[in-house]
Amino acid sequence: MSLPYHYVNVLTGTKSCKVLEDATEVAGLIKKANRPLLVIGPLCASLELEGCCLMEFGARIAQAGKLPVVATANTRKKLLELGVTPDSTYDVVEIINHLKKPDWKGVKGEGNHDLVIFLGIRADLANQGLSTLKHFAPHLKTLTLCKFLHPHAAYSLPNLKDNKWKDILESVINSFTENN
């Protein structure tokens, strides 16, 4: 049984994430999505990944993948500095609350999203939010790009060391640019 990195997040249940080890799989998933959404959390502002701020990866993924962005908590500020204007800002539980309504209009007003990608939300809170969506939002899939496995996500990266994590994020970004 694959344990999440943090024991507080150990799954007690039957429905666990599909672990994606391969960046192309991840990118493929995102490309396949009709209305993907990238949710960027505050850890992106505080975490360093191999010398550069995690927020930059978030910004680059958004740009490369042309993904609409929700900035939670106070991430908006940092994103603006990086030249990315988030399509909206919400508290993380607010965006999850919207997402669980099938008929929500979505951040673009074009309808609810079918794939929601999370990066930079503290693991315990993120996993609880993912649980909400797992149980109450059958109409969408969730994907986490964080360093730690999220059992409640539909798709999650495994627990990773920084270098491996960076590699995956980089190749996700590249796989967008390549094929565009």
């Binding site: 007690t12 106070n74 500020k77 800002t89 508290d91 539980v93 607010e94 999850i96 209009k105």
Partner: protein, 765 residues
């Protein structure tokens, strides 16, 4: 539910309905379903939001039942109802903890003073029990009356616990209604408990500038015999202090406390010292500075007997809630017990707290000289940690997701910076130490990273004064005081313990009213400015714009809700007697108050918070609270925000999401400050008041999130609401989003928007 004749008769006797201080309202002593329609109305706007902590139910022997994918349990329950059921269980535990606490205090004091002992809170407080008056319809005059309040809670609790049994309630909404009811009863218990100890222990009341007392482990004089009381029920501690006083020992002994017992020790005697909140319990007890540990009840670590042994502290348990399997020596003579502890090294249970207090004092004085008390120095800390290979097992078990490993590894290299930071973020569970493959005593090592300063916290002051309410009632309701922010609850903080002080000061500077209680009130004292001053020293202790006040221990939370009720009663002159819906409706629509339980961990906090929600007070919670499983969130701008205009007697679609949520979790303090400000917005704000609130909302948003809030259009009713300072930008923004002025409103209320006995006239004064 229409009450039977017998029932009415009983209630009239209990609340002395012929006492004509006010006419008896619509819901005297409501039962579990009596306010159900109010709850359902609230939930129309603020829908339960569930984050299941587990996919399964394991409550009965048909289980485990898998509730994923809309599957039902063997009993037919679904995942949402199971979450709501679990929340109700938590609210029952919390309410029971406070009710049993109150029962113990009140029985103890009635033994001492008799049940006719008067409740007198001094000249500043006439409305002695706003919650009990509003919920029950009783104006309590004696300890015996307070016991009636506890009995009312006891009776109500049984029905709620019953509902959690398998094959009972089947609707998540009804589970929520029962939780809200428990929350309200919890507040009755809180108020009864704190009033009892204020009058019984003669705690400060009707004064705002209560003494500043010492805070922190650094304040303990190691050269003196030290007794540390852990828990929430100060009865035994007061007996201890009396004994010391009567025997001229008080200046020779340190009486210290952890958790709320500490607050109440300080309220009983300003020489008492407050070690800190729950998060420092394990840390402090492991220092061995306590010669005697005296436990009472609630938030006391389960492994204290083992901890006490490790460091050679004597242990006296004093509560039927926490017996630790220890021998019950309550009937033995004090001499005999003292000998058992000292000669036989026994840990004991003494349920007669009159004995416990004296035993604690005598044991401490005897054993202290024989004990060596030394704090771990940096050299030793480095020695103890140098074996660390940063395997990160500690990180994996840390409930606060902290990087313990690196801090310990660095300590091993003689760098203590990270260790100090770690200590400030540590919630004090001790799992890291337990899991460490190299057996590094991490919690002990933190002694070398902790600050050993002495801090200051203002003693709990109890109720907000009626005179204070007379002064601030209007500005609060008009909005010209931008809000009341109450920092309450436990110390399961997501980050630094200093965050409470930082947030509190931000609001104090902005002339909000800042009230604190419990562990949060202690945490707020753990930060000094350049001049070495804590917020308690920098800001006035008044319930007024820019004031920072500590109401007291957890049970004193009642006074914060009580203040909101008093605004309705004193300023708006609404009768409160047995008039819950009218008062809650008033608070929801007009009193800009917001509770902040940033480190909430306990079932008590769940009950308190849920109670606030029923009163119409929004609560902001820290990230850990997502594990409570349930929030109350609105659909924000997309929801239906129609209310009744009381004067026009017609439904008005205000298009204004205020207050925006009732119970929500926020990721970090920066965002929290912005949201808290927003949650102080009320439909009743005058243009002037709304300008002020929006000014703070915008300015905080600019500081912490950047630019203008993208939901500003929701809160500007017409141009007059726009803060002058930001007028240009805001107008531009509103134009951009196609903002239109919103319908005007004279008297916002939910009354007559749902099925209730309360007529519209009841809210019009």
């Amino acid at each position: 539910m229409s009450k039977k004749g017998r029932e009415n008769k009983e209630i009239n006797e209990i609340i002395r309905s012929d006492d004509n201080w006010e006419p008896v309202g619509y819901t005297p002593m409501p039962q579990i379903t009596d306010l159900r329609n109010w709850d359902f109305r609230l939930m129309e706007t603020y829908k339960p939001f569930y984050a299941p902590f587990c996919d399964l139910c394991c409550f009965c022997t048909f289980g485990k039942c898998d509730l994923t994918g809309n599957k039902k349990g063997a009993c037919g329950i679904d995942i949402a109802s199971q979450q709501a059921r679990f929340v109700l269980v938590a609210c029952c535990m919390g309410t029971a903890a406070h009710a049993a606490h109150g029962r113990h205090l009140i029985d103890f004091l009635i033994d001492k003073y008799g049940e006719d002992y008067k409740i007198d809170l001094g000249q500043q407080v006439d409305i002695e029990a706003p919650i009990i008056r509003t919920v029950m319809g009783l104006k309590p005059q004696t300890l015996g009356d307070l016991r009636k309040a506890i009995e009312y809670v006891e009776r109500g609790l049984v029905h709620a616990v019953s509902s959690t049994h398998m094959g009972q309630e089947g609707s998540s909404q009804d589970f929520e209604s029962k939780s809200l009811h428990m929350g309200m009863l919890d507040h009755v218990a809180l108020e009864a408990s704190d009033l009892a100890q204020i009058v019984g222990f003669k705690f400060p009341t009707s004064v705002s500038d209560t003494p500043l007392v010492d805070l922190g482990w650094g304040s303990v004089d190691k050269s003196k015999p030290t007794i540390t009381c852990v828990g929430h029920n100060a009865a035994a501690a007061t007996v201890l202090i009396d004994y010391l006083r009567n025997n001229d020992l008080y200046d020779k002994v340190e009486v210290t406390g952890i958790c709320c017992t500490a607050h109440d020790i300080a309220r009983y005697s300003e020489r008492g010292k407050i070690i800190g909140p729950l998060s420092k319990q394990l840390f402090f007890l492991k220092t061995g500075l306590a010669d005697v540990i005296m436990t009472d009840e609630q938030c006391v670590r389960s492994d204290i007997p083992q901890l006490a042994r490790e460091v050679g502290s004597a242990l006296i348990a004093t509560s039927d809630k926490i017996c630790y399997g220890l021998p019950d020596v309550s009937k033995k003579s004090i001499d005999e017990i003292v000998r058992m502890i000292i000669d036989e090294g026994k840990q004991v249970l003494i349920l007669d707290i009159n004995k416990a207090g004296e035993v604690a004092a005598r044991v401490a004085v005897e054993i202290a000289p024989k004990r060596i008390k030394e704090i771990l120095n940096k050299e030793l800390a480095q020695e103890l940690t140098k074996e660390c290979r940063n395997c990160a097992m500690c990180n994996r078990v840390c409930p606060n997701l902290l990087d313990v490993g690196t801090a310990i590894a660095e300590t091993g290299k003689g760098n203590f910076e990270l260790l100090s930071l770690l200590f400030d973020q540590c919630v004090g569970c001790g799992k890291c130490e337990e899991i460490c493959p190299r057996n590094i005593p991490i919690i002990k090592v933190m002694q070398a990273g902790a600050s050993w300063d002495t801090y200051k916290v203002r003693t709990g002051r109890g109720p907000v004064h009626d005179v204070e309410i007379r002064k601030v009632g209007a500005p609060i309701v008009l909005g010209t005081i931008p809000g009341i922010v109450a920092f309450v609850g436990c110390s399961n903080f997501p980050q630094d313990i200093e965050e409470i002080a930082v947030m509190a000061e931000e609001f104090a500077k902005r002339k909000f009213i800042v009230a604190l209680s419990g562990c949060a009130a202690m945490a707020a004292g753990f930060k000094k400015d350049a001049e070495g001053k804590t917020i308690y020293e920098k800001y006035p202790p008044d319930f007024d714009a820019g004031g920072v006040l500590n109401v007291g221990s957890c049970v004193a939370n009642a006074h914060i809700v009580g203040a909101a009720i008093k605004v309705a009663n004193i300023f708006a002159k609404l009768p409160i007697r047995a008039n819950f819906e009218v008062i809650a409706d008033y608070i929801l629509n007009r009193v800009g108050a917001c509770g902040v339980a940033w480190g909430a961990y306990s079932q008590k906090a769940a009950a308190i918070g849920t109670g606030c929600n029923r009163w119409g007070i929004p609560v902001v919670l820290g990230p850990h609270a997502s594990k409570y499983r349930r929030l109350y969130l609105s659909d924000k701008g997309e929801g239906d925000w129609s209310v009744m205009d009381g004067r026009e007697r017609q439904i008005v679609d205000t298009q204004e999401p205020s207050p925006e949520h009732l119970a929500m979790v926020i990721e970090n303090k920066e965002r929290a400050m912005v949201t808290i400000t927003k949650l102080c917005i009320r439909k009743n704000d005058t243009a002037q008041g709304r300008q002020l609130k929006l000014y703070h909302y915008i300015s905080l948003h600019r500081n912490y999130i950047g630019g203008l809030p993208d939901d500003l259009q929701n809160f500007v009713r017409n141009e007059k609401d726009i803060p002058i300072f930001y007028k240009k930008d805001v107008m531009e923004y509103l134009k951009g989003v196609g903002w239109q002025p919103k319908p005007a409103l004279t008297l916002p209320t939910l009354i007559e928007t749902y099925d209730s006995d309360v007529p519209l006239d009841a809210v019009i004064k």
